[in-house]
């Protein structure tokens, strides 16, 4: 029994090598029905050397082999197409994540730098020459403590924010605000947006793209939802938040401390509708003409 199994296996292996004809017809005739060259009638593995006694085997063999190879070509084409598209799309998500990580680092660094920066105590002086300097955030808190508004320091703060965001301001719009969650009010909202580029065509048909001017606004939005709506309309954005503590003096001069949230949000420049945000333009920065 074991010997028979051995012969069966040997015959099978020999058939794979295309030698089944010799062996199957000789020592192991009973094994012939199991040999591979029975299947070879419809494939290209019969080698033609030992044609089978089927009336259509010779006429059909060439066509069958050709159809086999065409099926093989079809399968390989599908696999290759799949592999090609997989390779073309490989890493797209990774690329987006690396980019997003970089912009998150940028916005976090910008927000921290805004909050760490110093300012001269006397307006008009430079940091290098001023006899007395203070943290910008300390000056903002002091300004807010007087009358619960940031008015005296808002231009200094806006200038500082603009300076820190200037390296990316040609491509990005941004929003900076200080929000008090308890009273659901804004202490400060600054919005930097760039107008849509102007596309003009002169008489000779030459198309010229002029970048839009940038505008800085101070806004008084009615609620946080209106700002969040603006950011949603802007598309993909990067946000950084920091908790700060503001002080408010009451009529008797007692200080009340409460937590506020400083937020910096940036997005790729997109023309946006600012209706409903109660924005007032602070400054317009003309675009540099294209070189």
């Amino acid at each position: 029994m074991a010997l028979n199994k051995f012969f069966l296996l040997r015959a099978f292996l020999l058939n794979i090598k295309g030698q089944a004809g010799n062996n199957a017809s000789g020592r192991f005739p009973l094994l012939r029905p199991f040999s591979l060259n029975r299947k070879g009638r419809v494939g290209s593995m019969a080698f033609g050397k030992f044609p089978l006694p089927h009336p259509f085997s010779l006429n059909m063999k060439g066509q069958a082999a050709l159809s086999d190879s065409l099926y093989f070509l079809l399968i390989v084409s599908i696999l290759s197409a799949f592999l090609f598209f997989f390779a073309a799309n490989y890493g797209t998500t990774m690329q987006q994540r690396v980019e997003a990580q970089y912009w998150r680092e940028y916005s976090t660094g910008a927000l921290e730098t805004i909050l760490y920066s110093s300012t001269p105590r006397i307006a008009g002086q430079t940091l290098e020459d001023a006899p007395e300097v203070d943290y910008l955030l300390a000056a903002v808190k002091e300004d807010f403590a007087d009358d619960s508004t940031i008015d005296e320091t808002k231009e200094v703060l806006a200038q500082n924010i603009f300076g820190i965001m200037q390296p990316i301001s040609t491509a990005f719009d941004y929003l900076f605000y200080i929000y008090m969650p308890d009273s659901q009010e804004f202490a400060f909202v600054m919005l930097y947006v760039r107008e849509a580029p102007q596309i003009t065509e002169n008489a000779s048909g030459e198309v010229r793209v002029t970048p839009g001017n940038a505008k800085i606004y101070f806004c008084k939005p009615p609620n946080l939802d209106s700002l969040e709506g603006l950011v949603e309309r802007a598309g993909s954005s990067t946000q950084s938040n920091a908790r700060i503590q503001l002080i408010e003096l009451d009529e008797s001069g007692n200080a009340g401390y409460f937590v506020a949230q400083a937020n910096l949000t940036m997005w790729i420049s997109t023309p946006l509708n600012l209706d409903g945000l109660n924005c007032e333009m602070y400054k317009e920065i003309p675009a540099e003409p294209p070189s």
């Binding site: 010779l58 190879s69 290759s80 592999l83 490989y90 990580q101 300097v133 300076g163």
Partner: protein, 178 residues
């Protein structure tokens, strides 16, 4: 009729000749598959390399900026030596001053003059690199795979005349290449 004669009559061309038409699509399919496979392999390899370089540039920037606050040249040099442990990419990094007032403006980053433009506090330049000065391995605009990243940081100064400290915003610029 002999067996060979019978076969010839039925159009038998021989073991190779009979299968010759089927070999053409077979070989074509194999060639196509291996071409696409090799291209895909190269695409994976290239993209992985690009990701690793981009992450290395971020790592260099993160090592130097730390918590986005630099206490002066000593902190900068300390973090610079930390960033130099990154062996994957060659890099140059330094600080450029950002504008802080109405009369100032930030000029764009120019690769041609970047090293000269890096900020100096009068004594030392805020400049960091992991390549030797005389190796001639400085990047050019034509360099392939040049990655530039910038990060805002706060730099602390001491005014020796008045004895006051102040912090001003700076831009850390990192340029990496292979």
């Amino acid at each position: 009729m002999s067996k060979a004669g019978f076969l010839r009559e039925r159009g038998f061309l021989g073991p190779i000749g009979d299968d010759l038409p089927s070999l053409i699509p077979l070989l074509f399919a194999l060639m196509m598959f291996f071409y696409v496979f090799t291209s895909a392999w190269n695409a994976f390899d290239t993209k992985n390399s690009v990701f690793n370089d981009a992450l290395a540039a971020l790592n260099v920037g993160n090592a130097i900026k730390g918590n986005n606050y630099l206490r002066g040249i000593s902190t900068f040099e300390e973090r610079c030596s930390e960033a130099m442990s990154n062996k994957r990419v060659k890099f140059i990094a330094g600080l450029l001053p950002l504008s802080t007032g109405p009369g100032q403006s930030f000029s764009e980053v120019k690769l041609e003059t970047l090293e000269a433009d890096f900020f100096s506090d009068g004594e030392q330049k805020f400049f960091c690199t992991n390549i030797p000065e005389d190796s001639g391995e400085r990047p050019s605009l034509e360099s392939k795979g040049l990655i530039m990243r910038s990060f805002p940081v706060a730099l602390e100064f001491k005014n020796s005349a008045t004895g006051t400290f102040y912090v001003r915003p700076m831009l850390l610029v990192v340029v990496t290449w292979r």
